[in-house]
Symmetry: C2
Subunit: 375 residues, 2 copies
Amino acid sequence: MSTEQRLHIDATALTQFAAAVLEAKGVASADAAITADVLVQADLRGIVSHGVARLRRYVDGLDSGLMKAKPDTTVVNETPATALIDADGGLGQPASHLAMSMAIEKAEKLGAGFVTVRNSNHYGFAGYYPLMALQRGCVGISMTNSAVLVVPTFARNALLGTNPIAVAAPGGSEPPFVLDMATSTVPRGKLEVYNRQEQSIPMGWATDAAGEPTDDAGKVLRNFQQLAGGGLLPMGGAGELLGGHKGYGLAVLVEVLSAVLSGAAHADQVYPKDADGKPLPANLGHFFGALKIDAFRPQAEFEASMDDLQQRLKGADRVEGQDRIWVAGEKEHDSHAQQSVHGITVGAKVSADLLALSKEYGVAIDGTLDDSTDT
Amino acid sequence: MSTEQRLHIDATALTQFAAAVLEAKGVASADAAITADVLVQADLRGIVSHGVARLRRYVDGLDSGLMKAKPDTTVVNETPATALIDADGGLGQPASHLAMSMAIEKAEKLGAGFVTVRNSNHYGFAGYYPLMALQRGCVGISMTNSAVLVVPTFARNALLGTNPIAVAAPGGSEPPFVLDMATSTVPRGKLEVYNRQEQSIPMGWATDAAGEPTDDAGKVLRNFQQLAGGGLLPMGGAGELLGGHKGYGLAVLVEVLSAVLSGAAHADQVYPKDADGKPLPANLGHFFGALKIDAFRPQAEFEASMDDLQQRLKGADRVEGQDRIWVAGEKEHDSHAQQSVHGITVGAKVSADLLALSKEYGVAIDGTLDDSTDT
């Protein structure tokens, strides 16, 4: 345990800081602003694993040349309701923002729009893009493939990413429904938390080098580093008894729509390495969709049904000891409302990192530092 | 245990029989042919729970007037890339076939097509409609809401259906990828099998009347009949530890796209009853989508990537004791190939039912009867 400082900062100031750091790395102003917004929106929603904690990795990617600061992003193919974008190895967020914007415009004109992206990088939290669709009267969809961590059912080694699925639909008086889920039982970060706390993990989260379920998070994380085998289990756990083959199927589905349909790299080829094990540029694929609600029925009717559905779920009789039934996106909506007003408190480790970036790039960071006790 | 007779029959003959029974109930010839095909394709693929075993229920529905034999199916709204169909309380299959056909046509013209259906009934196995898309160079998608059986995370009573998600994409030399999965851990039928065999079910499949996980299948089934509470658990099981909230989120997602977007009934209102508990006509909602592959990239390239992805998965090192890694749809593809050539053997109970229908409606059934031992 050590006493460290935590940064307390307004969301707008944090966004400006992150954008300025990216601009200092040569990223165009508009692209930097989008990327920073995707990061800070994750922090606001309480998805800290995908927030400004990632800024250092993007800076490193730009530094090493694995990511291009000024990519030549192009629309490779386009039909009235679809498009394929080549992100040319730039940051994932600007290309994804463009793709989702195109999907929404197509949906506004024709009812539906679907756009895929290839040659891309990490695109932030999957829910960001569906949330863009809500403001334009659409249901939004986003998926991406990702770094290999997840074992197919009955396989010993990881071959798939945690491949998230995100879908958002607006409510009326209720908050929007925002499903944003990895198709693995848990993300790698969860194992890191348990490992730091020296807690054993539930059987059903991960497998050891032989592919057998294990409760030892440290072992799984070491095996990842050493490429020794095993990995995270798909939703439903090991084998087929509790539906692990369905989680595996969903992970493959994301691979098909994000990578196979776009022509990005799939499965274990997403983050390639050269013969000496040195990383080569990534080639991630993303999938975005928008459906215009009033192409199907009047939006007010849709929203009233969403409210009724949510109220039925939340008003249901509860299992003893439970004081609330949640709807997907509610926790994040509450977090966003809270932190938009009161500011974001960044964890000690990431705070130190942001302060270091501030010095390295001569970019001021407009927050206050609190002493905190961090384990 | 009793010795009973099992019907062995060619798929075409079985389809003709099922269609003739539906025609005898007043269903239009084309609609009867579609419905029969959806049923028999399920049997061919080994999904017997959704095969001709359902024919009796459809006949009963038509008999009671809960389903209309000759509905006035209408396209309520249409845009270039979307449509909403009102099935007018008819069989689910003809309206769904129309909806998927429209989605495919729109995708052929514009790249993407999405069609929802309301005022519908059971539509058969979810994978049928995505499979239609494959023959036209599209990725296909289908979802439906369904009878209430599944408990939301932390809720005591069932409020959602087993709400399946089905997506199909063509392979080249490999069979198509066909994910067709309930968003619950298991379907109700699985509990019935365990109950008949007096086996305890794994914790994580279902809950008792208090909403606590149980291993007693008989208790869960009795509670369903008596509306005593509890139900099937979403994928991931009880609570959030193993991802149950994700399965719950997927079930709500299906409800949103199938029912809220179409204006069908949602959650526990899908199969309404009057004040005396007498069933009223159902109002199910379905969701169909098609994405034209060559709107994104040449189909031959897509298929080559699908083959490579499948071969990487199937060729992976296996966990000890496992002799095969599967890709979604492969088992069903093998079953279809086998039974298309050698015919379908219908279980004893369903065989008896089909023979009874044959007598009741004076429709010949062109198969042979084998003695069999059935538990």
